[in-house]
Symmetry: C2
């Protein structure tokens, strides 16, 4: 067991932090082999790169090798981007070369039926004989900002405490792309494909011991060895937060899994029991996955788990309080001192408890945002308040003044708030107009620089707080 784990660690270290990479199928062109190579160069990977392509002499400034056997140095990791029919031969060569881990990007194996499964088995046998591990096939690669691995342009270069494992390349891509904009920072994202060798249990085992990782996100459709997976999930969830999006929950979805990865999805009731038993958090959509990851990364549990809400829109405020009850959040009952102070500022009514506080656009914009700042400070100093959700409906504010400048001023007001006892959560509501979206985006980045997470809708922000507050009530889970 100790030995297996060491081999696992060694091979996944080689996958995420390789000292040298061979890109088998690299090219100068625009297709995947060319793009992978380009991304590696652009993302600042500082290990050795060995392109392999018998048809080229130089690829993107690097000497190209006809075969991996011709590389006169050690190769830690190989990325295989060649037609399916060539892959088994390439795998054999990698294994003989002493490569620690290969990630097979190519599709066209068991998920396509036919001969695919037999070919997969042969490759695994070859790899095992040489202590080489296989990721994939049928995947889109690895993202690891600290070592310069990437599978798309424009991804974040900042490493965070979240690792994400995805049985779908598209969802791995969504995490890199949407995560970056949303302000979620990952340390690793891996597209695991058909899992012919390394499978979900292996990734969980590895990440359970990974020092960079506190939160593990998972998109999963099917597992081959249920018992091993359950053990690995129990272990991982006892040490880290694990969030799982299970594809193929329903009968129809389960059929759809078969054509996606060639596997059987399993009965969702069994999965639900497993989530309950291990404390893994289950989500049902990509949007909810992003909401939960952002919350786990940016909101910390506060002992007094109650919420104050402030922002523009009376109707939105009423709906927010409804939603609080639905997600099991309690509104803070403000102290008399807070109520009096709010009353003096003119945003409360005669000293009665006014949480949630409805501040119309003209009040938010008043005194260059300082009125809003004062309200936030009063709430943050109230010991009853654990979390403050503040929401701006951006479009009505535009009617009163220059939206970009006032939003920046309001956000700057938050700098002086003591964040040790209160968590701040922002909601920027907007209408989808490109001009407003541009301002929202800038505001989000400004909030991100203050470590304040931003959500698109009040319900989303409250759901995020609820994940944290209700966990802390249950003692860390």
């Amino acid at each position: 067991m100790e030995n297996t784990l060491t081999l696992l660690q060694e091979s996944l270290d080689a996958a995420f932090k390789p000292k040298s990479i061979a890109i088998i199928g690299a090219s100068n062109g625009a297709r995947l082999g060319g793009t992978e190579m380009r991304l590696l160069l652009e993302s600042g990977y500082d290990g050795q790169i060995y392109p392999v392509n018998p048809k080229e002499e130089i690829i993107q400034g690097h000497k190209s090798y006809a075969s991996i056997r011709d590389i006169p140095h050690e190769v830690d990791r190989a990325s295989v981007i060649v037609p399916a029919k060539v892959v088994p031969q390439v795998i054999k060569e990698c294994a003989e070369k002493g490569v620690k881990v290969v990630q097979i990007y190519s599709a066209g194996f068991s998920e396509m039926g036919g001969d695919g499964e037999r070919l997969e088995q042969e490759m695994v046998t070859t790899a095992r004989e040489h202590n080489m591990r296989i990721i994939g096939p049928n995947c889109i690669g690895t993202y690891c900002p600290s070592s310069g691995l990437n599978f798309t342009k424009g991804a974040s270069t900042i490493s965070g405490n979240i690792a994400f494992v995805s049985q779908s390349g598209g969802i791995a891509f969504d995490m890199v792309s949407r995560g970056h904009i949303t302000g979620i920072h990952f340390n690793k994202i891996i597209s695991v494909g058909n899992c012919i060798d390394l499978d979900h249990a292996d990734y969980l085992e590895y990440l359970a011991d990974d020092e960079e990782t506190e939160i593990i996100g998972f998109y999963i459709e099917s597992v081959k060895n249920g018992k091993r997976f359950i053990d690995a999930l129990k272990k991982a969830a006892s040490k880290k937060k694990v969030v799982i999006l299970k594809g193929g929950r329903t009968a129809t979805g389960s059929q759809s899994v078969a054509s996606h990865t060639g596997n059987v999805a399993g009965d969702y009731q069994v999965w639900e029991a497993l989530f309950d038993q291990t404390g893994a958090i289950s989500v049902k959509s990509i949007d909810k996955m992003l909401t939960v990851l952002l919350s786990l990364q940016k909101i910390s549990p506060i002992e007094s788990g109650k919420v104050a809400i402030v922002g523009n829109g009376g109707g939105a405020t009423v709906l927010a309080t409804d939603y609080c009850e639905e997600v099991n959040l309690e509104l803070a009952e403000l102290s008399n001192l807070s109520a009096t102070s709010l009353d003096q500022l003119g945003v409360a009514d005669g000293g009665r408890n006014t949480n949630p506080i409805d501040m119309p656009a003209n009040q938010l914009a008043a005194e260059e945002g300082r009125l809003f700042g004062s309200v936030m400070k009063i709430l943050a100093e109230d010991s009853e308040v654990g979390y403050i959700l503040f929401h701006f409906n951006l479009v009505p504010i535009m009617n009163y003044m220059d939206l970009e400048s006032i939003v920046q001023k309001m956000i700057t007001e938050l700098e002086s708030i003591d964040r040790t006892k209160t968590n701040l959560v922002a909601v920027l509501r907007y209408n989808g107009e490109p001009e407003v979206e541009k301002i929202r985006y800038k505001a989000m980045k400004l909030l991100e620089s203050q470590e304040i997470p931003t959500f698109k809708a009040i319900e989303e922000g409250l759901a995020g707080i609820s994940v944290i507050a209700n966990q802390s009530l249950k003692g860390g889970r």
Copy 2:
């Protein structure tokens, strides 16, 4: 009864299609009285405008009157935007002048406690004596594109088959602003405020007979006369589609209603029973309201209510099929002819049923979008398929080619599809990056010009189809 309805029709016609308007509290400034006047001029209102403000001689190019009594013409409608303490006197003058309906924008009455309720009662008594009706107080105005009434810049000028009644100014505003971007067209939106005279039952009665209106949206927090409301809702819902967002569903939300409008929200179970009994569609958030209104306006029921799904992202496709089952939608089983044709195009696997179809970004972009067009045509011609949801995850497509141009080409391919037997629904997934958002916005407008509704997430699009498909199954409900 006949008389009451006639008076009601007359006064609400005067509210929505006034031949002349007095703006009491108009100004040259930037605050509400100035803005209302400016919007009226800019939105193309072609009736008579009479600004009333004793401190000015000319307001925005129009002669200003010291009092409504000084206007030497008939006044259909008055908009009252003056401090609360002056409102009762103004109402008295309006009533004596023979105004048909006033909308009181000013806040500071029963929702603030104190003397407010008594003042409201006095105003109602005065109005009733003169057959004048009151909308409000505490509201933000009226939107009616066909007559040039508006409460914000940049609203749509196109009239549609939806009327919206809102007990929250902010939510009325959201409907105008977000509806416009989303491609939802309203014929009337009214902010009804505290409903001291005209109340929800009146608006429902009026809209039940309104020829422009087929769909009625409603944000409601509380009603004063439950019996009358129930009767009006039954009548309206028997003739039109009614969609209700109820604020103050929960105990906490209900308290919050009290501070928003000064009323009691009522037990939500009673409301739920009422929705069941009348067939009104109930939603729980602003986002869902927009989803349902867009669907009711843009998707028509098709007898074969089954769905085909096509787009990029294998994981997203699996999750989409899960979601279908959750919202009670059936995936269409494609005919052998369709399956064979798809197979020949290279997007199906050996002729088996491949719905949903996972077309990776490079396939969507292939042949300048014509491959996608061919797939859509095959699906549209399959008699089993009632609705086609097509989804583009925009960011991965950018990796292959110029996103803006390819998306436009793909959308243009849809022009030749026979829409009599198949409904098309678009989902444009994106990451929130301003550059991508700009392209998404243009694509949405292009889709809108083809009467194809666009949703942000696959779940949203399927929820929209489900509203229509499951209604048609239940025979029109």
